[in-house]
Amino acid sequence: MSRLLSRKVFKTFLKFHEPCCLSSMQQLLKPTRVLANKVQYINEDRPEFPGSKSVFVNKLKFLWPEKMEGIPVYRVMNRKGEIYDSSEDPGLSKETVIKMYKDMTMLNTMDRILYESQRQGRISFYMTNFGEEGTHIGTAAALNPKDLVFGQYREAGVLMWRGFTLDQFMNQCYGSCEDMGKGRQMPVHYGSKDLHFVTISSPLATQMPQASGAAYGFKRAQNGLCVICYFGEGAASEGDAHAALNFAATLECPVIFFCRNNGYAISTPTRDQYRGDGIASRGIGYGMVTARVDGNDVFAVYKVTKAAREICVQENRPVLIEAMTYRIGHHSTSDDSSAYRSVDEVSHWNKEDTPIARLRLYMIKKGWWNDDAEKEWKQDSKKQASHGSLCKS
C-alpha cells in the first residue's frame, strides 16, 4: 500500500470498509503530520497530536498524585546555621551577610512598633512579616536593584533592602503629609518608583498577570532586567494566578513568580486551599522552570533566586519558585490566628526555625557576630524605629 494517500482518497477508502476493519487499518496507518491537504501515514509508536509530547501506552494507568514523590525542598543551611555542602554556599561577604541580618531584624523591630501602633489606634491596619524575613531578604539580595517588583502585601523586607527608609515606611502607615503616596493608600500598601516597587494592590493576585505583562514589556525592551512577582499560596487559587502563569510561559516572559507558601491564607490552611503538591507542581504543568526552596534559609532563597534570574534574563522564560515558610504573626491586625492554629504550633516555629536565628548562628560560627554586637544592634534598631514612630504620631 502506498505510504502517501491524499485525504480524499483515504476517506473514500474508509467508506468501503466496515468499522471492525478500521482499527487494524489505523494501526497500520498512523498519521504523522498534516501538510496542507496531504496526510502522511507511517507506522509510528509516538503520538503526534499537536497538543502533547509523550508516548502511547497499551495499559490503562491513572496518575495518582499521592503515589508520586513530592517536589524536594532545596536548602543550603540547617537550623544550626551549618552549611551542608560548601560548594552550595553562596559565599557572600561579611558586609553583605551583616546587612542581610540587620535588615531582617530591623524589619522585625519595625513590625513590632507598627503592630502596637495599630493596637493603640494610631493607625487603622497593619501586617507583620514575622517568620518570612528570609524570603524577602534572600530574594531582594539576589536581584538587580532595577528589577521590577510586584508584591502581594507582605514584602516590606524587599523594600527595606532596596533602601526604603524607616521614615518612609512610617509616613505611609500613618498617612502623614510627608507620605510619598499622599495619604491615599491604606497601611502597608507601599510603592516606590525610584526603588522599582509597584504600589501594593489589595485584591488578591491582580499583581500576577500584571507582572507577566510588565515582563513582556521588558522582553520587548531587551533591557537585561527581569520582573519578580510575590504571591501567597492562597492567592494562587485566584483565576488571575492561572492566567499569569500561562501567559508568562506562552509569551516567554522574563519573570520570577515567587510563592511564599506560609501555611495559611488568613485562616485557611493549605489542606483546604489545594490538594496537589503545593504550588511548585503547577509550574511544571505550565511548562515553567520550577524549584522549591526552604524559605527559612536565606542563603537557599538567595541562590535559587540568583539562578532563576539568570534563566529569566538569558533564556527569556519564566521561573516559578515556591518558598516553604511559616507565618509566625497573625495575618493582619484584623485577624486573631489563635482561632485556627494552636499557640504551641506557632511557638514551635518561633523557637525552632526562623530565618533570623539561622542566619545569626551562621554569623556567630563565622566569628562575624556575638552577644555584644547583638545587644548593641537591638538597642540601636529599636531606637531608630521608635523615633520614627513617635515623630509621626
Binding site: 493607625i123 487603622s124 491596619f125 498617612g175 502623614s176 507620605d179 499622599k182 495619604g183 491615599r184 493608600q185 491604606m186 497601611p187 500598601h189 494592590s201 489589595s202 485584591p203 488578591l204 492562597g234 492567592a235 487559587s237 485566584e238 483565576g239 488571575d240 491564607a265 488568613i266 485562616s267 485557611t268 483546604d272 486551599q273 489545594y274 484584623s334 482561632a339 485556627y340
Partner: protein, 359 residues
C-alpha cells in the same frame, strides 16, 4: 452620635445577658446587633429549608471574617457551612451551578469589593439565566457581605456597589440599615426565587437596635421592594440607604431643634425601588435630598432624581432635588481626607438648608 454610643454600651451588656437565653421558645423583645440579626436569619433559614447553605472564605471554622456566621458551622456542620479556597469567581460560579441544580446557596463575599473578581458570574450568569432560559432555569442565590466604606481601609476596600448592581435587570438589590431590616430582608432574600445582592455594612455590624417581639420571631419577613419611613416630617424628605439612614436621623434630630421636620426614608431595597413611598413623601414635603455613601455619577440619588422628574411628584417640588454623596474620588486613607470624602450629618444639614432656603 456621642449620646447614641453611650447608650449602646449599656445595651450591649443587656444583650449579652439576653444572648444566653436566645434559644428559649418565648420570644423576648430586646436589643440585637446587626451582626446577630444576620446570623439569626441565616441560622433560621438553614434550619427551615434543607436546600439552603452558606459558602465563602472562612465562613465555617473561623466564623466568618466579620463573625457573621458565628457558631453556624458548629451547629449545622460541613454539609451546610462551607469554607472555600480564595477564588471569588470560583465559588460564585459554584453557587450559580448549585442554584441551577435546585439548591439555595448563600454566597458570602468577604467584602463586596472582592465581588469584582466574580462579577461575571453575578451579572452574566446569576442575573440573566432565568431570562435567557425563558423562565426555565431559576437561579435563587443570595450574594451577601459588607459593602461601602468602613474606616481607614482606603480605595480598594471602601466602595459602595448599590448603583453597580442596582443597574442590572435580573438582580434584586437590598441595602439594609437596622437589625430588623437585616433579619427580615435577609430571610426574604433567601426565600426569594431570584438572585439577590444583599449589601451589608461593616461599620453597622456591632450596632445594636431595638427588636420587636415580632421581629424576633422565626416567621418574621420583610417585603423586598418596600421602603420604611423611619421618621415622619412635613418640611423635607431625606432618602437614604444603609449606614447613611442613621446619619440622616442624626441630621434630622439636629434640624428638629431648628424647627425643621425631616421625613427620613430608609430605602431598604435598591432594586426594585419603592418609588411610591418616595413620591408620596415628596408630594407632602415638596423638598427632597437624597443621601448615599457611593459616588454621585449614575448613583442611587441620580436614579431617584430621574424617577421624580418622570413621575407625578415633579410638579410638587418647591426646589431642585439635592444629592449628598460620597466624594467623586477613590476613598483616601488619611483620616482627614477620608472624613471629607464621606458624607457627614453636616453635609446633609447644609443641603436641607439650601433646599429650604434658610440660613
Amino acid at each position: 452620635m456621642a449620646a447614641c454610643r453611650g447608650k449602646s454600651l449599656l445595651t450591649q451588656q443587656a444583650w449579652r445577658f439576653f444572648q444566653r437565653n436566645f434559644s428559649q421558645t418565648t420570644p423576648v423583645a430586646a436589643q440585637l446587633t446587626v451582626r446577630d440579626a444576620l446570623n439569626a436569619a441565616i441560622d433560621e433559614e438553614i434550619k427551615r429549608d434543607p436546600r439552603v447553605f452558606l459558602m465563602g472564605e472562612e465562613v465555617a471554622h473561623y466564623d466568618g471574617a466579620y463573625k457573621v456566621s458565628k457558631n453556624l458551622w458548629k451547629k449545622h456542620g460541613d454539609g451546610r457551612i462551607i469554607d472555600t479556597p480564595i477564588t471569588e469567581m470560583g465559588f460564585a460560579g459554584l453557587a450559580v451551578g448549585a442554584a441551577m441544580a435546585g439548591l439555595r446557596p448563600i454566597c458570602e463575599f468577604m467584602t463586596f469589593n472582592f465581588s469584582m473578581q466574580a462579577i461575571d458570574q453575578v451579572i452574566n450568569s446569576a442575573a440573566k439565566t432565568y431570562y435567557m432560559s425563558a423562565g426555565m432555569v431559576p437561579v435563587p442565590i443570595v450574594f451577601r457581605g459588607p459593602n461601602g466604606s468602613a474606616v481607614g481601609v482606603a480605595a480598594q476596600h471602601s466602595q459602595c456597589f448599590a448603583a453597580w448592581y442596582g443597574h442590572c435587570p435580573g438582580l434584586k438589590v437590598i441595602s439594609p440599615w437596622s437589625a430588623e431590616d437585616c433579619k427580615g430582608l435577609l430571610k426574604s432574600a433567601i426565600r426569594d426565587p431570584n438572585p439577590v445582592v444583599f449589601l451589608e455594612n461593616e461599620v453597622m455590624y456591632g450596632q445594636p437596635f431595638e427588636m420587636s417581639e415580632e421581629a424576633m420571631s422565626e416567621n418574621f419577613l420583610l417585603p423586598i421592594g418596600k421602603a420604611k419611613i423611619e421618621r415622619a416630617g412635613n418640611h423635607i424628605t431625606l432618602v437614604a440607604h444603609s449606614r447613611l439612614v442613621g446619619v440622616c436621623l442624626d441630621a434630622a434630630k439636629e434640624l428638629a431643634g431648628m424647627g425643621v421636620e425631616c421625613e427620613v426614608i430608609n430605602m431598604r431595597t435598591i432594586r426594585p425601588m419603592d418609588e411610591e413611598t418616595i413620591v408620596k413623601s415628596v408630594m407632602k414635603t415638596n423638598h427632597l435630598v437624597t443621601v448615599e455613601g457611593g459616588w454621585p455619577q449614575f448613583g442611587v440619588g441620580a436614579e431617584i432624581c430621574a424617577r421624580i422628574m418622570e413621575g407625578p411628584s415633579f410638579n410638587y417640588l418647591d426646589a431642585p432635588i439635592l444629592r449628598v454623596t460620597g466624594a467623586d474620588v477613590p476613598m483616601p486613607y488619611a483620616k482627614t481626607l477620608e472624613d471629607n470624602a464621606n458624607p457627614q450629618a453636616g453635609n446633609i444639614i447644609r443641603s436641607v438648608k439650601k433646599s429650604l432656603n434658610i440660613k
